[in-house]
């Protein structure tokens, strides 16, 4: 009896020691990492000028876009202003809803939920990528898988699994954020069968408006090897106040 108890205690202690050795003692929770990454790259609000390069099988196209985002209010508005052909196309995002103003038709079109997976402006980003970015904190359960070195940066590897009732298209996202400042380096998007469909890499870390941020976001569709989309941040200002009329359908129709 006593001998048996003794053996048991030894086993438990051994098991505890093994667990203590294998479980990484991180000082920060997985959710916190994602939260800080979002906060660091997007602020509460931001006004930015992007240059978007779409490389497809046949052609390469560059567009310029100005975007107003209020992460806190879950709203954003983006306007294409170059090239001339696409100029005036505006996109309004409010929560899960998306509207597209088409200057040629002088008409606002509501992007139906069924169109969320379609390509946004012919790029590798889907409408959903553009809209649902903000839900990355709230719609997923986060697990810290460890650390890994990606592109020379030491990164936390965080797994994001959608919460039960979340309206999310991905089955899983693997998010790599730098350990030193939580800035995103790489995001892998998996479908419900665990197959990697898209990869976004963040690079060209620079100081803009007093913050270090990645200024180049490159999205690759795994199946389509000869195409990608790059979003370069040319200018960005954080935490400026944006008048609320910007985030209205009426504003979309203004020249």
């Amino acid at each position: 009896m006593t001998r048996l108890t003794h053996a048991k205690i030894t086993t438990i202690i051994a098991a505890l020691m093994v667990m203590a050795l294998t479980a990484p003692a991180f000082a920060i929770s997985a959710k916190e990492i994602i939260k800080r990454a979002e906060e660091a790259t997007r602020g509460d609000t931001s006004i930015a000028v992007y240059e978007i390069t779409v490389k497809s099988r046949r052609w390469t196209r560059t567009m310029k876009m100005k975007s107003y985002e209020s992460r806190a209010a879950d709203k954003s508005m983006a306007e294409i202003y170059a090239p001339k052909k696409d100029a005036g196309n505006k996109f309004l995002l409010k929560g899960d809803n998306m509207w597209h103003y088409v200057p040629k038709l002088q008409k606002t079109i509501k992007i139906a939920p069924s169109m969320m997976l379609q390509s946004w402006m012919g790029s590798d980003f889907t409408n959903d990528d553009i809209v649902n970015m903000s839900s990355i904190v709230d719609d997923y359960n986060h697990t810290l898988l460890g650390t890994e070195t990606i592109d020379g940066h030491e990164c936390y590897k965080v797994q994001l699994k959608p919460k039960e009732n979340a309206a999310v298209v991905w089955g899983k996202i693997i998010y790599y954020a730098r350990t030193k400042d939580y800035l995103p380096v790489r995001q892998e998007f998996y479908n419900e069968h665990g197959v990697m469909k898209k990869v976004m890499t963040c690079s060209d870390f620079q100081v803009m408006d007093g913050r270090t941020i990645p200024t180049r976001y490159k999205m690759n569709t795994v199946r389509k090897k000869d195409q990608y989309t790059v979003m370069d941040i040319n200018k960005i200002r954080f935490n400026v106040s944006i008048p609320s009329y910007i985030f209205t359908i009426q504003y979309l129709k203004r020249k």
Binding site: V54, S56, R57, R58, W59, R61, K85, D86, N89, H100, V102, K104, L105, K107, I109, K110, A112, M115, S119, M121, G122, S123
Partner: protein
């Protein structure tokens, strides 16, 4: 030599000795043969008509695209047909016409109602020699003309879903060939009822010249649709096209209707299997009918065969007599049956079975063919005749052998 003459003479006389039985046997073969020929002719004619309808409606006999277009059905896959390709098609005597097309998936909307649809940019003039959709425009509208611009014809169900009519203005939005936003207002000039539910629900057509502008095609097209005068020459035309397309800087695909519409091919194959089973049953009915009557005639003549055998007729000669009888009857039966079968087929070719009253019920199955003519082929008649003949001979071997193996003494005593 002498023997053969006697055998034939005896067989001939036997046939006419019991006329009623002979006529019954003959009728079995005539009806069987005629039915099989007619059924096969109806199947062949129906299938040809279904292919013709599908080809004439929108698909054409042959399509040329940039490789990958047919699988993806996206505007990205496009090519520029070169001079050589065009002159090859213009110069080929089997080609009835060809038309360039642009394909784009679009969001079409009228005020708040939006639907997904497929836009085909077509050459209105040329399209008339390739497809017959221009004949399916409902009264009150018209097909596209060469000088149309932002005009559109659309399927009946799509129009109903959007609650639009001729003269209304709808908007389309899509992605252009260069990835830019393609948007346009279009005026409806016609609404078509093709009979094919998919086209009626999703298809819209605009002039190619407008599609080139709207979708920023830069001279590229998505498909070249070819209609043939003689579908039998499809392989030659495909080969001629491939000769040119192999020289292209990027790979093209030249596809015949069988690859464009595999579901139609599958349907025909399945239908043929059903027809063969039906043919088999008919053949068996004929074969056992012959077996039965020949068997009876042999039984009735047991005494006669006994006499023949006892005066020295060889058993092989007895077999030959019985077989010769069957051959006579079946040859005549096949001849008459074929004439009736061919006659019936020709009648149904010019007076086809018309199911157009049930068009809507048929359309549920995705078939828009409502008129089923018969088409009789030489192969059909020859094969049917040969199989009937072989079966008749095979199935009369049993009774013939029975007659040859009779014990003469026993047989003579039989009444």
């Amino acid at each position: 030599m002498q023997n053969y003459k006697i055998i034939i003479k005896l067989a001939w006389r036997n046939i006419w000795r019991n006329k009623r039985r002979t006529i019954l046997t003959l009728l079995t073969i005539v009806v069987g043969c005629a039915m099989i020929i007619l059924m096969n002719a109806l199947a062949k004619g129906g299938h040809d008509q279904m292919i013709e309808d599908a080809v004439a409606l929108n698909t054409g006999h042959i399509q040329i695209h940039e490789k990958g277009f047919w699988d993806s059905q996206t505007i990205d896959y496009a090519f520029k047909p070169n001079e050589e390709l065009i002159s090859t098609l213009e110069g080929h005597e089997a080609v009835a016409g060809f038309s360039r097309r642009v394909h784009a998936g679009v969001l079409v909307s009228l005020e708040d109602v939006s639907k997904g649809a497929m836009v085909e940019g077509v050459e209105p003039g040329r399209e008339r020699s390739v497809t017959n959709l221009h004949q399916k425009i409902l009264p009150g509208g018209r097909f596209l003309k060469d000088d149309d611009s932002t005009h559109v014809v659309m399927g009946e169900i799509l129009a109903k879903n959007l609650k639009v009519k001729e003269g209304d203005r709808i908007s389309i939005i899509s992605q252009g060939f260069d990835g830019s936003i393609a948007a346009e207002y279009l005026t409806i000039v016609g609404i078509f009822k093709s009979g094919n539910p998919e086209y009626d629900r999703t298809l819209m057509m605009i002039p190619l010249s407008q599609a080139m502008k709207t979708f920023s095609m830069m001279g590229y097209i998505n498909s070249l649709v070819i209609r043939l005068d003689d579908p039998g020459q499809m392989d030659e035309v495909i080969a001629a096209c491939k000769n040119v397309t192999e020289e292209y800087p990027y790979p093209l695909e030249v596809m015949g209707w069988e690859t464009l519409m595999p579901e139609l091919v599958q349907f025909i194959v399945m239908d043929n299997v059903g027809a063969w089973i039906f043919d088999f049953i008919l053949f068996m009915v004929v074969a056992f009918g012959i077996l039965n009557t020949i068997q009876m005639s042999v039984f009735e003549r047991t005494r006669e065969f006994g006499v023949m055998l006892s005066i020295g007729t060889q058993p092989s000669q007895v077999v030959a007599i019985v077989l010769a009888e069957t051959m006579f009857i079946s040859l005549v039966g096949i001849l008459i049956g074929s004439i009736i079968g061919i006659g019936g087929s020709i009648y149904l070719h010019f007076n086809p079975i018309d199911y157009s009253a049930y068009a809507e019920e048929i359309a549920v199955w995705g078939v828009n063919t409502t008129i089923f003519p018969a088409t009789v082929t030489v192969a059909n008649v020859v094969v049917t005749g040969l199989i009937t003949f072989v079966l008749a001979v095979l199935f009369s071997i049993f009774p013939a052998r029975r007659a040859a193996r009779l014990d003469p003494v026993e047989a003579i005593r039989t009444l």
